[in-house]
Protein backbone atom coordinates (compact mmCIF):
# COMPACT_ATOMS: atom_id res chain seq x y z
CA UNK A 1 0.00 0.00 0.00
CA UNK A 2 1.41 3.32 -0.94
CA UNK A 3 0.29 6.57 0.67
CA UNK A 4 0.82 9.69 -1.27
CA UNK A 5 -0.15 13.11 -0.31
CA UNK A 6 1.09 16.61 -0.58
CA UNK A 7 3.88 17.87 1.59
CA UNK A 8 2.91 20.93 3.53
CA UNK A 9 0.74 22.17 6.27
CA UNK A 10 -2.26 20.16 5.14
CA UNK A 11 -0.36 17.00 4.31
CA UNK A 12 -1.42 14.83 7.19
CA UNK A 13 -5.02 15.91 7.09
CA UNK A 14 -5.22 15.42 3.36
CA UNK A 15 -3.75 11.96 3.66
CA UNK A 16 -5.98 10.81 6.43
CA UNK A 17 -9.18 12.06 4.93
CA UNK A 18 -8.31 10.66 1.51
CA UNK A 19 -7.62 7.25 2.98
CA UNK A 20 -10.74 7.41 5.04
CA UNK A 21 -12.84 8.04 2.00
CA UNK A 22 -12.29 4.50 0.85
CA UNK A 23 -13.83 3.02 3.93
CA UNK A 24 -16.13 5.72 5.12
CA UNK A 25 -17.23 8.65 3.02
CA UNK A 26 -18.15 10.55 6.16
CA UNK A 27 -15.61 13.18 7.07
CA UNK A 28 -15.02 14.50 10.53
CA UNK A 29 -12.92 17.50 9.75
CA UNK A 30 -13.72 20.33 12.17
CA UNK A 31 -16.38 22.70 10.86
CA UNK A 32 -18.71 25.23 12.42
CA UNK A 33 -21.36 22.51 12.36
CA UNK A 34 -19.56 20.00 14.53
CA UNK A 35 -17.38 19.73 17.64
CA UNK A 36 -13.63 19.33 17.67
CA UNK A 37 -12.03 16.54 19.70
CA UNK A 38 -8.69 17.29 21.35
CA UNK A 39 -6.54 15.01 23.48
CA UNK A 40 -4.23 16.94 25.80
CA UNK A 41 -1.16 15.42 27.40
CA UNK A 42 0.15 15.85 30.91
CA UNK A 43 3.52 14.22 31.50
CA UNK A 44 4.83 14.20 35.02
CA UNK A 45 7.10 12.42 37.44
CA UNK A 46 5.16 12.44 40.68
CA UNK A 47 4.59 16.11 41.44
CA UNK A 48 7.18 17.31 38.94
CA UNK A 49 6.77 18.08 35.29
CA UNK A 50 8.35 15.37 33.20
CA UNK A 51 11.11 16.00 30.67
CA UNK A 52 13.81 14.02 28.95
CA UNK A 53 17.42 14.31 30.12
CA UNK A 54 16.40 15.55 33.56
CA UNK A 55 17.10 13.77 36.83
CA UNK A 56 14.21 12.44 38.90
CA UNK A 57 14.20 10.44 42.11
CA UNK A 58 12.09 7.32 42.49
CA UNK A 59 10.37 6.24 45.69
CA UNK A 60 13.33 3.91 46.26
CA UNK A 61 15.75 6.82 46.20
CA UNK A 62 17.23 5.93 42.83
CA UNK A 63 17.98 8.73 40.41
CA UNK A 64 16.70 8.19 36.90
CA UNK A 65 17.14 10.12 33.71
CA UNK A 66 15.00 9.38 30.68
CA UNK A 67 16.47 9.70 27.22
CA UNK A 68 13.44 8.35 25.34
CA UNK A 69 9.76 8.16 26.19
CA UNK A 70 7.80 7.64 22.99
CA UNK A 71 4.59 5.75 22.39
CA UNK A 72 1.83 5.17 19.89
CA UNK A 73 -1.85 5.93 20.24
CA UNK A 74 -4.33 4.67 17.69
CA UNK A 75 -7.92 4.49 16.58
CA UNK A 76 -9.51 7.18 18.78
CA UNK A 77 -13.30 7.13 18.73
CA UNK A 78 -16.29 8.75 20.38
CA UNK A 79 -19.23 6.57 21.35
CA UNK A 80 -22.66 8.14 21.56
CA UNK A 81 -25.34 7.15 24.07
CA UNK A 82 -26.87 4.67 21.63
CA UNK A 83 -23.58 2.83 21.22
CA UNK A 84 -22.83 4.35 17.83
CA UNK A 85 -19.15 4.92 17.22
CA UNK A 86 -17.54 7.83 15.39
CA UNK A 87 -14.01 6.90 14.40
CA UNK A 88 -11.78 9.93 14.54
CA UNK A 89 -9.12 11.10 12.11
CA UNK A 90 -6.18 10.83 12.11
CA UNK A 91 -6.06 7.23 13.24
CA UNK A 92 -2.43 7.11 14.44
CA UNK A 93 -0.34 9.30 16.73
CA UNK A 94 3.25 9.12 17.86
CA UNK A 95 3.61 10.85 21.20
CA UNK A 96 6.79 12.24 22.69
CA UNK A 97 7.22 14.29 25.87
CA UNK A 98 7.19 17.55 23.94
CA UNK A 99 3.77 16.91 22.44
CA UNK A 100 1.12 19.00 24.17
CA UNK A 101 -2.03 17.93 22.39
CA UNK A 102 -3.41 16.02 19.46
CA UNK A 103 -6.30 17.31 17.39
CA UNK A 104 -8.41 14.28 16.60
CA UNK A 105 -10.94 15.63 14.16
CA UNK A 106 -14.54 16.23 15.13
CA UNK A 107 -17.93 14.76 15.80
CA UNK A 108 -21.44 15.84 15.01
CA UNK A 109 -23.45 17.56 17.77
CA UNK A 110 -25.19 15.20 20.14
CA UNK A 111 -24.32 13.19 23.19
CA UNK A 112 -20.70 12.13 23.60
CA UNK A 113 -20.87 9.18 25.92
CA UNK A 114 -17.35 7.78 25.87
CA UNK A 115 -13.89 8.42 24.43
CA UNK A 116 -11.91 5.36 23.33
CA UNK A 117 -8.28 5.13 22.27
CA UNK A 118 -5.64 2.41 22.19
CA UNK A 119 -2.11 2.58 23.49
CA UNK A 120 -0.28 0.74 20.72
CA UNK A 121 -1.57 -0.31 17.34
CA UNK A 122 -4.41 -2.46 16.15
CA UNK A 123 -3.68 -5.99 15.01
CA UNK A 124 -4.56 -5.35 11.38
CA UNK A 125 -1.98 -2.60 11.18
CA UNK A 126 0.71 -4.15 13.31
CA UNK A 127 1.48 -7.21 11.24
CA UNK A 128 3.42 -9.92 13.00
CA UNK A 129 2.86 -12.87 10.72
CA UNK A 130 4.27 -11.27 7.64
CA UNK A 131 1.14 -11.49 5.55
CA UNK A 132 -0.74 -8.29 6.22
CA UNK A 133 -0.57 -4.98 7.98
CA UNK A 134 1.77 -2.15 7.18
CA UNK A 135 5.46 -1.49 7.44
CA UNK A 136 7.21 1.87 7.81
CA UNK A 137 8.52 1.66 4.28
CA UNK A 138 4.97 1.73 2.96
CA UNK A 139 4.94 5.46 3.57
CA UNK A 140 6.34 8.10 1.28
CA UNK A 141 5.58 10.85 3.79
CA UNK A 142 8.38 10.74 6.32
CA UNK A 143 6.14 12.65 8.75
CA UNK A 144 3.47 9.99 8.95
CA UNK A 145 3.38 8.45 12.43
CA UNK A 146 3.84 4.96 11.01
CA UNK A 147 6.78 5.94 8.77
CA UNK A 148 10.31 5.30 10.07
CA UNK A 149 10.95 7.30 13.22
CA UNK A 150 14.26 8.72 14.45
CA UNK A 151 14.15 6.61 17.58
CA UNK A 152 13.25 3.45 15.64
CA UNK A 153 9.69 2.45 16.49
CA UNK A 154 9.66 -0.72 14.39
CA UNK A 155 11.26 -4.09 14.86
CA UNK A 156 12.37 -4.83 11.32
CA UNK A 157 13.57 -8.26 12.44
CA UNK A 158 10.26 -9.14 13.98
CA UNK A 159 7.86 -7.28 11.76
CA UNK A 160 5.96 -5.16 14.19
CA UNK A 161 5.82 -1.73 15.72
CA UNK A 162 7.19 -0.87 19.13
CA UNK A 163 4.18 0.48 21.00
CA UNK A 164 6.10 2.08 23.85
CA UNK A 165 9.82 2.81 23.87
CA UNK A 166 11.35 4.09 27.06
CA UNK A 167 15.08 4.36 27.65
CA UNK A 168 17.34 6.09 30.13
CA UNK A 169 19.88 5.70 32.89
CA UNK A 170 19.66 4.96 36.58
CA UNK A 171 21.90 5.79 39.51
CA UNK A 172 21.07 2.91 41.83
CA UNK A 173 23.25 3.81 44.79
CA UNK A 174 22.83 7.56 44.73
CA UNK A 175 26.52 8.32 44.33
CA UNK A 176 25.93 10.70 41.48
CA UNK A 177 27.03 8.26 38.81
CA UNK A 178 24.66 6.40 36.57
CA UNK A 179 25.14 2.68 37.09
CA UNK A 180 22.82 1.14 34.54
CA UNK A 181 20.86 1.92 31.43
CA UNK A 182 17.26 0.86 31.15
CA UNK A 183 15.61 -0.02 27.86
CA UNK A 184 11.99 -1.01 27.57
CA UNK A 185 10.87 -1.70 24.01
CA UNK A 186 7.29 -2.80 24.44
CA UNK A 187 5.12 -4.24 21.71
CA UNK A 188 3.44 -7.10 19.86
CA UNK A 189 -0.30 -7.36 19.46
CA UNK A 190 -1.00 -8.69 22.92
CA UNK A 191 0.48 -5.56 24.45
CA UNK A 192 -2.10 -3.12 23.11
CA UNK A 193 -4.13 -1.41 25.82
CA UNK A 194 -7.63 -0.26 24.92
CA UNK A 195 -8.70 2.61 27.13
CA UNK A 196 -12.08 4.21 27.62
CA UNK A 197 -13.00 7.48 29.28
CA UNK A 198 -16.54 8.40 30.28
CA UNK A 199 -17.59 11.78 28.91
CA UNK A 200 -21.35 12.03 29.40
CA UNK A 201 -21.38 15.32 27.58
CA UNK A 202 -23.96 16.97 25.40
CA UNK A 203 -22.00 18.51 22.59
CA UNK A 204 -23.14 21.46 20.50
CA UNK A 205 -21.75 22.73 17.23
CA UNK A 206 -18.57 24.68 17.85
CA UNK A 207 -17.83 22.99 21.19
CA UNK A 208 -14.56 21.29 21.99
CA UNK A 209 -14.54 17.78 23.39
CA UNK A 210 -11.42 17.71 25.53
CA UNK A 211 -9.76 14.74 27.17
CA UNK A 212 -6.46 14.71 29.03
CA UNK A 213 -4.05 11.79 29.04
CA UNK A 214 -1.74 11.85 32.03
CA UNK A 215 1.39 9.74 32.19
CA UNK A 216 3.15 9.65 35.56
CA UNK A 217 6.56 8.17 34.93
CA UNK A 218 7.15 7.81 38.66
CA UNK A 219 4.31 5.30 38.70
CA UNK A 220 5.89 3.56 35.73
CA UNK A 221 8.76 2.55 38.02
CA UNK A 222 6.60 1.73 41.02
CA UNK A 223 7.53 -1.80 42.08
CA UNK A 224 10.25 -2.18 39.47
CA UNK A 225 13.69 -3.40 40.51
CA UNK A 226 16.01 -1.05 38.68
CA UNK A 227 18.98 -3.27 39.42
CA UNK A 228 17.66 -6.20 37.44
CA UNK A 229 14.48 -5.22 35.59
CA UNK A 230 16.12 -2.89 33.14
CA UNK A 231 16.10 -4.50 29.71
CA UNK A 232 13.40 -6.02 27.56
CA UNK A 233 12.57 -6.10 23.87
CA UNK A 234 9.29 -7.88 24.72
CA UNK A 235 10.47 -11.14 23.22
CA UNK A 236 12.33 -14.25 24.14
CA UNK A 237 13.30 -14.70 27.74
CA UNK A 238 12.66 -11.03 28.45
CA UNK A 239 9.03 -11.21 27.41
CA UNK A 240 7.69 -11.53 30.98
CA UNK A 241 9.45 -8.29 31.88
CA UNK A 242 7.99 -6.76 28.73
CA UNK A 243 4.52 -7.76 29.83
CA UNK A 244 5.16 -6.31 33.27
CA UNK A 245 6.48 -3.00 31.96
CA UNK A 246 3.58 -2.62 29.53
CA UNK A 247 1.25 -3.09 32.47
CA UNK A 248 3.34 -0.57 34.39
CA UNK A 249 2.90 1.94 31.58
CA UNK A 250 -0.81 1.25 31.46
CA UNK A 251 -1.05 1.77 35.20
CA UNK A 252 0.95 4.97 35.00
CA UNK A 253 -1.53 6.31 32.47
CA UNK A 254 -4.86 7.89 33.21
CA UNK A 255 -7.47 9.64 31.12
CA UNK A 256 -9.84 12.32 32.32
CA UNK A 257 -12.51 14.45 30.81
CA UNK A 258 -11.52 18.04 30.16
CA UNK A 259 -8.24 19.82 29.67
CA UNK A 260 -6.71 22.77 27.89
CA UNK A 261 -9.36 25.38 27.20
CA UNK A 262 -12.23 22.99 27.41
CA UNK A 263 -15.62 24.50 28.09
CA UNK A 264 -17.59 21.31 28.55
Amino acid sequence: MKFKYLIGAFAALTFMSSCKEDDNPQTNEPTAQNAEVILYYDFKFGDDDFALNQNFTTDNGEVVKFTLATYYLSKPAIMDDAGGMTMLDPEYYIIRPDVMMSKMGSIEPGHAHMFNVSIGLDEATNTEDGTSGVQPTDFSDANHPLAPQPEGMYWSWASGYIFVKIEGEVDNDGDGTFDNTFKYHLGTNDFRKDRSTMLHSDVAAGDTVAVTMTVDYKEFFNGVDLETEILTMSMGDARPLGVKMMNQFDAATSFSKGGGHDHN
Partner: protein, 352 residues
Amino acid sequence: MITIKSLKNSLRSPIASLLLAMVLLMAFTSCREETDLKEAGPEAILELNIPHFPALNLKPDQLLTKSKVKLGKQLFFDPSLSRDYSISCASCHLPELAFTDGLAVSVGIEGRVHNRNSPTLFNVAWQPYLFMDGGNPTLESQVIGPIEEHREMDLPFTEAVSRIAAINEYQESFQNAFGDDVNPYTLSLALATYERALLSYDSPFDRFRYQGDSSALSESAQRGLALFESAELNCVACHKFPLTTDFSFQNNGLKDIYLDPGRARVTNNIPEHEGQFKVATLRNIALSAPYMHDGSLGDLGDVIDHYASGGSNHRLKSSLITGFEISASEKADLIAFLESLTDTSSYKLYTD
Protein backbone atom coordinates in the same frame (compact mmCIF):
# COMPACT_ATOMS: atom_id res chain seq x y z
CA MET B 1 7.57 -4.64 -22.31
CA ILE B 2 10.13 -7.39 -22.60
CA THR B 3 9.59 -11.11 -22.19
CA ILE B 4 12.49 -12.99 -20.66
CA LYS B 5 12.58 -16.64 -21.56
CA SER B 6 15.81 -17.50 -19.82
CA LEU B 7 16.90 -20.00 -22.38
CA LYS B 8 20.02 -18.40 -23.66
CA ASN B 9 21.96 -21.60 -23.81
CA SER B 10 19.31 -23.73 -25.38
CA LEU B 11 21.21 -23.80 -28.68
CA ARG B 12 23.78 -25.98 -27.02
CA SER B 13 21.26 -28.77 -26.60
CA PRO B 14 21.34 -31.82 -28.82
CA ILE B 15 18.54 -31.32 -31.27
CA ALA B 16 16.07 -34.08 -30.89
CA SER B 17 13.91 -34.28 -33.94
CA LEU B 18 10.64 -34.23 -32.04
CA LEU B 19 11.66 -31.05 -30.25
CA LEU B 20 13.24 -29.31 -33.18
CA ALA B 21 10.59 -26.70 -33.62
CA MET B 22 10.54 -25.92 -29.92
CA VAL B 23 14.30 -25.67 -29.68
CA LEU B 24 14.41 -23.27 -32.60
CA LEU B 25 11.80 -21.14 -30.96
CA MET B 26 13.72 -21.18 -27.72
CA ALA B 27 16.87 -20.23 -29.53
CA PHE B 28 15.06 -17.35 -31.13
CA THR B 29 13.67 -16.01 -27.93
CA SER B 30 16.98 -16.66 -26.22
CA CYS B 31 18.81 -14.45 -28.66
CA ARG B 32 16.14 -11.81 -28.35
CA GLU B 33 16.35 -11.82 -24.57
CA GLU B 34 19.84 -10.43 -24.25
CA THR B 35 19.36 -8.05 -27.11
CA ASP B 36 16.15 -6.70 -25.66
CA LEU B 37 17.55 -6.30 -22.18
CA LYS B 38 20.54 -4.41 -23.42
CA GLU B 39 18.44 -2.22 -25.64
CA ALA B 40 15.67 -1.68 -23.15
CA GLY B 41 15.02 1.91 -22.29
CA PRO B 42 15.35 3.05 -18.69
CA GLU B 43 11.62 2.78 -18.08
CA ALA B 44 10.98 -0.50 -19.90
CA ILE B 45 9.65 -3.20 -17.61
CA LEU B 46 12.13 -6.01 -17.07
CA GLU B 47 9.89 -8.96 -16.41
CA LEU B 48 11.00 -11.81 -14.18
CA ASN B 49 9.27 -14.54 -16.10
CA ILE B 50 11.48 -17.56 -15.61
CA PRO B 51 9.58 -20.40 -17.28
CA HIS B 52 10.50 -23.07 -14.75
CA PHE B 53 10.16 -20.80 -11.71
CA PRO B 54 6.92 -19.92 -9.96
CA ALA B 55 5.24 -16.77 -11.21
CA LEU B 56 5.85 -13.63 -9.22
CA ASN B 57 3.03 -11.27 -8.39
CA LEU B 58 4.72 -7.94 -8.04
CA LYS B 59 2.84 -4.77 -7.28
CA PRO B 60 3.07 -2.09 -9.97
CA ASP B 61 5.64 -0.09 -8.03
CA GLN B 62 7.77 -3.19 -7.58
CA LEU B 63 8.15 -3.91 -11.28
CA LEU B 64 11.74 -3.72 -12.43
CA THR B 65 12.98 -1.04 -14.75
CA LYS B 66 16.54 -0.30 -15.72
CA SER B 67 16.52 3.04 -13.98
CA LYS B 68 15.22 1.52 -10.73
CA VAL B 69 17.70 -1.33 -10.79
CA LYS B 70 20.58 1.00 -11.59
CA LEU B 71 19.62 3.29 -8.73
CA GLY B 72 19.21 0.38 -6.33
CA LYS B 73 22.59 -0.98 -7.32
CA GLN B 74 24.22 2.38 -6.66
CA LEU B 75 22.64 2.48 -3.20
CA PHE B 76 23.57 -1.15 -2.51
CA PHE B 77 27.24 -0.29 -2.89
CA ASP B 78 27.04 3.09 -1.14
CA PRO B 79 28.61 3.27 2.36
CA SER B 80 26.53 6.37 3.07
CA LEU B 81 23.97 3.96 4.46
CA SER B 82 26.18 3.08 7.44
CA ARG B 83 26.60 5.34 10.43
CA ASP B 84 30.33 5.92 9.93
CA TYR B 85 30.30 5.60 6.14
CA SER B 86 32.49 2.50 6.40
CA ILE B 87 30.35 -0.29 4.98
CA SER B 88 27.61 -0.80 2.42
CA CYS B 89 25.11 -3.57 1.81
CA ALA B 90 27.71 -5.11 -0.47
CA SER B 91 30.20 -5.41 2.39
CA CYS B 92 28.30 -8.46 3.65
CA HIS B 93 26.81 -9.40 0.28
CA LEU B 94 29.73 -9.58 -2.13
CA PRO B 95 28.76 -10.42 -5.71
CA GLU B 96 31.76 -12.69 -6.19
CA LEU B 97 30.70 -14.79 -3.19
CA ALA B 98 27.13 -15.21 -4.34
CA PHE B 99 26.23 -12.09 -2.36
CA THR B 100 27.55 -13.52 0.91
CA ASP B 101 30.76 -12.53 2.68
CA GLY B 102 32.73 -15.73 3.27
CA LEU B 103 32.65 -15.23 7.03
CA ALA B 104 31.05 -17.47 9.63
CA VAL B 105 29.14 -14.49 10.98
CA SER B 106 29.05 -11.02 9.52
CA VAL B 107 30.91 -8.00 10.83
CA GLY B 108 29.36 -4.55 10.90
CA ILE B 109 30.73 -1.10 11.57
CA GLU B 110 33.51 -0.72 14.12
CA GLY B 111 34.13 -4.46 13.94
CA ARG B 112 30.83 -5.31 15.62
CA VAL B 113 30.19 -9.02 15.26
CA HIS B 114 26.77 -10.32 14.28
CA ASN B 115 25.50 -13.71 15.35
CA ARG B 116 24.35 -14.94 11.94
CA ASN B 117 25.86 -15.94 8.64
CA SER B 118 25.24 -13.65 5.69
CA PRO B 119 22.68 -15.31 3.38
CA THR B 120 22.88 -15.24 -0.39
CA LEU B 121 20.59 -12.76 -2.08
CA PHE B 122 20.15 -14.79 -5.25
CA ASN B 123 16.49 -15.32 -6.07
CA VAL B 124 15.46 -13.36 -3.00
CA ALA B 125 12.51 -12.11 -5.06
CA TRP B 126 10.82 -15.47 -4.39
CA GLN B 127 11.37 -15.40 -0.64
CA PRO B 128 7.94 -15.18 1.03
CA TYR B 129 9.52 -13.72 4.17
CA LEU B 130 12.94 -12.47 5.02
CA PHE B 131 15.62 -13.29 7.56
CA MET B 132 16.48 -16.81 8.69
CA ASP B 133 13.71 -16.65 11.26
CA GLY B 134 11.17 -15.22 8.83
CA GLY B 135 10.83 -12.12 10.94
CA ASN B 136 10.10 -9.72 8.13
CA PRO B 137 7.40 -9.86 5.48
CA THR B 138 8.75 -7.86 2.56
CA LEU B 139 12.01 -7.00 0.88
CA GLU B 140 11.12 -3.35 1.25
CA SER B 141 10.69 -3.37 5.02
CA GLN B 142 13.61 -5.75 5.40
CA VAL B 143 15.80 -2.95 4.15
CA ILE B 144 15.39 -1.19 7.50
CA GLY B 145 16.88 -4.15 9.33
CA PRO B 146 20.56 -4.09 8.40
CA ILE B 147 20.63 -0.31 8.09
CA GLU B 148 19.35 0.25 11.64
CA GLU B 149 20.79 -2.86 13.31
CA HIS B 150 23.45 -1.92 15.87
CA ARG B 151 25.76 -4.72 14.76
CA GLU B 152 25.46 -3.90 11.10
CA MET B 153 25.16 -0.39 9.70
CA ASP B 154 23.68 1.25 12.80
CA LEU B 155 22.02 4.17 11.05
CA PRO B 156 18.45 5.31 11.80
CA PHE B 157 16.48 4.85 8.62
CA THR B 158 15.24 8.42 8.86
CA GLU B 159 18.85 9.58 8.72
CA ALA B 160 19.55 7.29 5.79
CA VAL B 161 16.71 8.98 3.92
CA SER B 162 18.08 12.42 4.84
CA ARG B 163 21.61 11.53 3.76
CA ILE B 164 20.55 10.24 0.38
CA ALA B 165 18.10 13.10 -0.14
CA ALA B 166 20.89 15.59 0.43
CA ILE B 167 22.77 14.33 -2.62
CA ASN B 168 21.56 16.09 -5.74
CA GLU B 169 22.58 13.27 -8.03
CA TYR B 170 20.40 10.87 -6.08
CA GLN B 171 17.47 13.27 -6.11
CA GLU B 172 17.66 13.32 -9.87
CA SER B 173 17.96 9.55 -10.07
CA PHE B 174 14.95 9.02 -7.79
CA GLN B 175 12.88 11.39 -9.91
CA ASN B 176 13.91 9.52 -13.02
CA ALA B 177 13.24 6.10 -11.55
CA PHE B 178 10.16 6.71 -9.44
CA GLY B 179 8.93 10.18 -10.34
CA ASP B 180 9.22 10.93 -6.66
CA ASP B 181 11.61 12.31 -4.08
CA VAL B 182 13.87 10.29 -1.84
CA ASN B 183 11.62 9.13 0.97
CA PRO B 184 11.23 5.96 3.08
CA TYR B 185 9.08 4.34 0.44
CA THR B 186 11.27 5.03 -2.57
CA LEU B 187 14.56 4.37 -0.79
CA SER B 188 13.47 0.95 0.36
CA LEU B 189 11.87 0.22 -2.99
CA ALA B 190 15.06 1.07 -4.89
CA LEU B 191 17.15 -1.31 -2.80
CA ALA B 192 14.52 -4.03 -2.97
CA THR B 193 14.24 -3.65 -6.72
CA TYR B 194 17.96 -4.22 -7.20
CA GLU B 195 17.81 -7.27 -4.95
CA ARG B 196 14.92 -8.70 -6.98
CA ALA B 197 17.13 -8.51 -10.05
CA LEU B 198 19.66 -10.91 -8.52
CA LEU B 199 18.51 -13.95 -10.44
CA SER B 200 20.05 -17.37 -10.73
CA TYR B 201 18.13 -19.68 -13.00
CA ASP B 202 20.45 -20.88 -15.73
CA SER B 203 22.83 -23.24 -13.98
CA PRO B 204 24.00 -26.53 -15.50
CA PHE B 205 21.32 -28.20 -13.40
CA ASP B 206 18.64 -25.94 -14.93
CA ARG B 207 19.81 -26.72 -18.41
CA PHE B 208 19.84 -30.43 -17.62
CA ARG B 209 16.51 -30.60 -15.83
CA TYR B 210 14.41 -27.97 -17.55
CA GLN B 211 15.94 -27.49 -20.97
CA GLY B 212 16.68 -31.06 -21.92
CA ASP B 213 20.42 -30.59 -22.17
CA SER B 214 21.66 -33.99 -21.07
CA SER B 215 25.26 -32.89 -21.46
CA ALA B 216 24.89 -30.04 -18.98
CA LEU B 217 25.63 -32.25 -15.98
CA SER B 218 28.64 -34.49 -15.61
CA GLU B 219 27.98 -38.13 -14.85
CA SER B 220 29.14 -37.51 -11.32
CA ALA B 221 26.70 -34.61 -10.89
CA GLN B 222 23.88 -36.72 -12.33
CA ARG B 223 24.61 -39.42 -9.76
CA GLY B 224 24.65 -36.69 -7.12
CA LEU B 225 21.27 -35.46 -8.29
CA ALA B 226 19.89 -38.97 -8.00
CA LEU B 227 21.20 -39.18 -4.45
CA PHE B 228 19.76 -35.76 -3.67
CA GLU B 229 16.33 -36.96 -4.73
CA SER B 230 16.65 -40.44 -3.31
CA ALA B 231 14.32 -41.68 -0.60
CA GLU B 232 17.27 -42.37 1.66
CA LEU B 233 18.84 -38.92 1.58
CA ASN B 234 15.58 -37.12 0.76
CA CYS B 235 17.22 -33.72 0.52
CA VAL B 236 14.35 -32.63 -1.72
CA ALA B 237 11.93 -32.93 1.17
CA CYS B 238 12.94 -29.38 2.08
CA HIS B 239 15.17 -28.29 -0.78
CA LYS B 240 12.45 -28.47 -3.37
CA PHE B 241 13.08 -27.65 -7.00
CA PRO B 242 13.25 -25.35 -8.76
CA LEU B 243 14.05 -22.82 -6.02
CA THR B 244 15.82 -25.50 -3.93
CA THR B 245 13.91 -24.51 -0.82
CA ASP B 246 10.36 -24.84 0.41
CA PHE B 247 10.90 -21.87 2.77
CA SER B 248 9.80 -23.94 5.74
CA PHE B 249 11.35 -23.57 9.16
CA GLN B 250 13.29 -26.58 10.36
CA ASN B 251 15.42 -27.52 13.32
CA ASN B 252 18.08 -29.48 11.48
CA GLY B 253 19.85 -30.77 14.55
CA LEU B 254 22.86 -28.55 14.17
CA LYS B 255 23.11 -27.85 17.91
CA ASP B 256 22.42 -29.48 21.22
CA ILE B 257 21.75 -26.05 22.68
CA TYR B 258 20.70 -23.14 20.51
CA LEU B 259 22.10 -19.83 21.67
CA ASP B 260 20.20 -18.32 18.74
CA PRO B 261 16.57 -19.39 19.22
CA GLY B 262 15.82 -19.00 15.52
CA ARG B 263 12.14 -18.85 14.66
CA ALA B 264 11.23 -18.74 18.35
CA ARG B 265 12.72 -15.26 18.54
CA VAL B 266 9.88 -13.84 16.50
CA THR B 267 7.10 -16.08 17.72
CA ASN B 268 7.69 -15.23 21.34
CA ASN B 269 9.26 -18.47 22.38
CA ILE B 270 6.71 -20.91 21.07
CA PRO B 271 8.59 -23.95 22.33
CA GLU B 272 8.46 -26.01 19.16
CA HIS B 273 10.04 -23.15 17.20
CA GLU B 274 13.32 -23.25 19.11
CA GLY B 275 16.24 -23.83 16.80
CA GLN B 276 14.13 -23.58 13.65
CA PHE B 277 15.60 -21.67 10.74
CA LYS B 278 14.28 -21.12 7.26
CA VAL B 279 15.46 -23.72 4.77
CA ALA B 280 18.18 -22.02 2.74
CA THR B 281 18.31 -21.93 -1.04
CA LEU B 282 21.03 -24.07 -2.56
CA ARG B 283 21.40 -21.86 -5.61
CA ASN B 284 25.10 -20.94 -5.90
CA ILE B 285 25.72 -22.90 -2.73
CA ALA B 286 29.25 -23.77 -3.84
CA LEU B 287 30.17 -20.09 -3.56
CA SER B 288 28.57 -19.24 -0.24
CA ALA B 289 30.62 -21.11 2.36
CA PRO B 290 30.64 -21.33 5.30
CA TYR B 291 27.23 -22.79 5.95
CA MET B 292 24.34 -22.88 8.43
CA HIS B 293 22.83 -19.98 10.37
CA ASP B 294 26.03 -19.44 12.31
CA GLY B 295 28.51 -20.41 9.61
CA SER B 296 29.73 -23.27 11.75
CA LEU B 297 30.20 -25.73 8.89
CA GLY B 298 33.13 -24.82 6.68
CA ASP B 299 32.47 -26.61 3.42
CA LEU B 300 29.96 -28.75 1.59
CA GLY B 301 31.64 -31.92 2.82
CA ASP B 302 31.02 -30.82 6.40
CA VAL B 303 27.38 -30.16 5.58
CA ILE B 304 26.93 -33.63 4.10
CA ASP B 305 28.69 -35.17 7.08
CA HIS B 306 26.30 -33.34 9.40
CA TYR B 307 23.20 -34.68 7.69
CA ALA B 308 24.72 -38.15 7.30
CA SER B 309 25.36 -38.24 11.04
CA GLY B 310 21.75 -37.43 11.82
CA GLY B 311 22.72 -34.30 13.73
CA SER B 312 22.26 -33.63 17.39
CA ASN B 313 19.75 -35.11 19.76
CA HIS B 314 17.94 -31.83 20.25
CA ARG B 315 14.42 -32.56 21.41
CA LEU B 316 12.93 -30.46 18.62
CA LYS B 317 15.04 -31.76 15.78
CA SER B 318 13.08 -32.29 12.57
CA SER B 319 11.92 -35.83 12.04
CA LEU B 320 13.40 -35.55 8.55
CA ILE B 321 16.94 -35.56 9.95
CA THR B 322 17.58 -39.25 10.46
CA GLY B 323 21.07 -39.78 9.08
CA PHE B 324 22.21 -41.96 6.21
CA GLU B 325 25.14 -43.97 4.93
CA ILE B 326 27.19 -42.36 2.20
CA SER B 327 30.48 -43.45 0.62
CA ALA B 328 33.33 -41.13 -0.29
CA SER B 329 32.52 -41.40 -3.98
CA GLU B 330 28.84 -40.74 -3.36
CA LYS B 331 29.77 -37.72 -1.32
CA ALA B 332 31.88 -36.44 -4.20
CA ASP B 333 28.92 -37.00 -6.53
CA LEU B 334 26.61 -35.08 -4.24
CA ILE B 335 29.05 -32.19 -4.09
CA ALA B 336 29.37 -32.26 -7.87
CA PHE B 337 25.61 -31.89 -8.08
CA LEU B 338 25.57 -29.00 -5.60
CA GLU B 339 28.27 -27.29 -7.62
CA SER B 340 26.07 -27.66 -10.70
CA LEU B 341 23.60 -25.24 -9.10
CA THR B 342 25.98 -22.39 -9.85
CA ASP B 343 24.85 -19.55 -12.10
CA THR B 344 26.29 -16.15 -11.39
CA SER B 345 25.83 -14.72 -14.87
CA SER B 346 22.12 -14.41 -15.48
CA TYR B 347 21.61 -11.55 -13.06
CA LYS B 348 24.08 -9.43 -14.96
CA LEU B 349 21.61 -9.20 -17.80
CA TYR B 350 19.42 -7.17 -15.49
CA THR B 351 21.95 -5.29 -13.45
CA ASP B 352 24.87 -4.36 -15.72
